[in-house]
Amino acid sequence: MTTLIQAKGLSKSYGSHQALKSVDFSVERGRIVGLVGPNGAGKTTILKSILGLTSYEGDLKVLGLNPERQRHQIMQKVSFIADVAVLPRWLRVADAVEFVTNVHPNFKVERAKHFLSKTSIPMNARVKELSKGMVAQLHLALVMSIDAELLVLDEPTLGLDILYRKEFYNQLLAEFFDEGRSILVTTHQIEEIENLLTDLLFIRDGKIVLDATMEEVAEKYIEVMVSKDDAAKAEAMNPVMQRDVFGRKVYLFEGVSREELEPLGELHSPSVADLFVAKMKEGK
């Protein structure tokens, strides 16, 4: 099975508010997918649907299983971190390791102990005695020791200082990710992860507005820095967005070939953040 998540016509309403409007997307094995969108766009609803934490309409398959009816099976092979602060404060580190060992069939306790030994987390400490960064390290150590096919991360580095954030992704890449697994991550800190991603999903008002691999994005979206004389020419080619940088104009084009744009000036790849802003402003 190469498709780990398959969504067709996925919808969800909370009363009169439609959080998801018939969304289609898929996640293949061996990919790192970034799910980006403003607050309230529907990111969390998508994640909750995948994890069987909320009801939904439409067709959704995770590892070929139905999250509403087969949640228990799904959770043997899917892990998630729903923001860092969810480990119970009274839990001792050693007890947490013991608990997961006894409860999770795919947990490799030696790996967890190995990861923990590289931190300064005392085995006898309770979660309430640890700093936020250490709690994140503990949670990650546990999660990386689970032989999961899919890892879902919902703002996993929220509130962590930069050292812990960098180490978080470093560890994920070095110790966990391989071609047999996929990671689906949402975060506000796009810059931090844009180079890690293989695929990009933008969501706005319950709809997917961009669904592409990073390679496709590199080919399709090109930024040109244009001098004043060429501004009119550039605008005639229907840029998707425009911004001013140091008195020069930068235009973002979608689907226009490099050859056509080269005469206008220096070509750049837009950052995911700039692309995101462009897509959010589109049609407004």
Binding site: Y14, K48, L51, L53, T54, S55, H72, M75, Q76, S79, F80, I81, A82, A85, V86, L87, P88, R89, W90, L91, R92, D95, E98, F99, V100, N102, V103, H104, P105, H139
Partner: protein, 310 residues
Amino acid sequence: MSIAMVNSFKALVKREYWEHKGAMFYTPAIMAAVFAGLMILGALTGDHITVNSGHGFSIIDHLPQAMEQFENLGEEERSKGVQIGLYGAIVLFGFVMLIVSLFYALGSLYDERKDRSILFWKSLPISDTATVLSKFLAVTFVIPVFYSAIIAAFQLFLLLFATVAAWFGGSSGIAIWASSNLFGVIFNSFFAIVTASLWLAPLWAWLMFASSWAKKVAFLWGTLPIFMIVVAEGWIFQTTRFIEIVGDRIANGFVILNSNMHYMVGGDMFEIDVQRWYEVFGNIEFWVGLIVSGIFLAGAIYTRRYRDES
């Protein structure tokens, strides 16, 4: 049930202990230590110590007199006296245990939502059924076992204390031990406590169910529906059957706890019909209670599984 499921369940019950060590162990242990301490202190400073056991059995420091009186009693009288003293320990510890169980049940499916740790538990392959049942087992069985153990230790202390007091009264104190029926007392105490807790299972299950959907202040959600039913019944039917049933059940729970004492003092402690712990299992109400518990637990499991935490 596979080995994995059993291990998983054991881990869940152990988790309840880790989380509630304070209420399950330290509370009764510290209580016992404090009482023991007070008794020793009082004895040393010569103050009057009264150990109330429902019928005014006092240990005064007219020790030689007391010992002589004691030894002059008949065998049966002596035995009753000692056992009443020992069963007396259950009155207060048992009451505390019921309060602890009440708060435990109310918090059982609420606390994890309040501190969001439910998102950690839900990230692991543990079923809602196993989770709810492990908590039910904790309140109906684990808490009673802990309290029974501490009570037994305290009962042992009471005997030792009485023995030492006897020495000071010029007696060897052997009579106290001989008439104590200590193992019988511990045995009966344990079963009375566990049976009382099981008798109150529908109460615990109801509170667990309330804790699974309460948005805030689980206590209110636990009591409000009962209050509403009582009011509705009074208004529609002009009867008070519901509150009578609920009240009866709760009162009986406390009664069963102290049933041993009741019979030891000649059936004078309570005015109602008192069941001995082993008679409870022959009472159809007990089994109906378990079925009702099952219904509430099913409700709690369903709610925990499908409730949408936003």
